[in-house]
Symmetry: C2
Subunit: 159 residues, 2 copies
């Protein structure tokens, strides 16, 4: 088990608290009939900058994954090096590219069982990733992949 985010990094929420914010988004997405992946971006001081969820179904927008929707919602910032990106599911390569380009200070992941994406590659590049192995996140995506394989494949571009 990797060390969790230290209390010094976020006096407001610990990593599990931050993940709960993203998980709420994922559950909202599921209730909407969408792809249940949620994201959130915090400053390292614990300030919430934005939340997001996959909007493929809700808006017909294939560019909004949980991570990129949170990025959009967080607004403009000269740097992202002092921010933490939280996602309920390990980032696909699209979101892996987002993380690598903008060098978030840390990435918190809920589930890396149902998808690995570019997570191993990000670690090789030195990105700080905290994998919380959340059973709630794991169960939510597993249920979605089982019941909506068509949507799951579409959202990651797999035929």
């Amino acid at each position: 088990m990797e060390p969790l985010i230290s209390p010094a990094v976020s006096p407001v929420l610990d990593a599990h608290g931050m993940l709960a914010v993203a998980l709420e988004q994922a559950r909202l997405g599921f209730a909407e009939g969408g792809v249940p992946v949620g994201g959130a971006i915090f400053r390292t001081d614990g300030t919430l900058l934005g939340v997001g969820r996959n909007r493929l179904v809700q808006e017909g927008n294939c560019s909004l994954h949980g991570e990129t929707d949170a990025f959009r919602a967080a607004g403009r910032h000269p740097t992202w090096h002092d921010t933490i990106l939280v996602t309920t599911l390990a980032p696909c390569w699209y979101c892996t590219g987002l993380i690598y380009q903008f060098r978030f200070r840390q990435v918190i992941v809920g589930d890396s069982v149902n998808a690995q994406g570019g997570m191993p590659w990000l670690r090789e590049q030195g990105i700080d990733i905290v994998d919380l192995r959340s059973q709630e996140c794991i169960d939510l995506i597993a249920k979605f992949q089982r019941t909506r394989p068509d949507l799951w494949k579409e959202c990651i571009g797999e035929v």
Copy 2:
């Protein structure tokens, strides 16, 4: 010089014609005071699916680069393997991730002089990239980087 897209791939527009569509978007972005990078997505039969441009300034939306805005505009597709992504500037790592995740059939690039992004890495992964070395694209970005270094740095997350 790499071989250009073959006439058999697009009976409607050749690679230069496709790049002109993306360049028009980049010029629009420049006129709006935005980051002048444009994108377009075509089916391999030449059908235009969507165009886009960086919208950081126009919408305060850091998630919309030329490529991701065109992806958004192109709508929902079960696969992207039969599509061509065109961009006036070599993809940053964010857009590199997009390309690698969705495996566009081909990527057409206007300028790889002012930024390389993940282009060399994409080639290593076997992605088909046609670099047109367009002087118009090169001049447009060079002018922008010179006059708005603040915006240039912000849009790629460099402090």
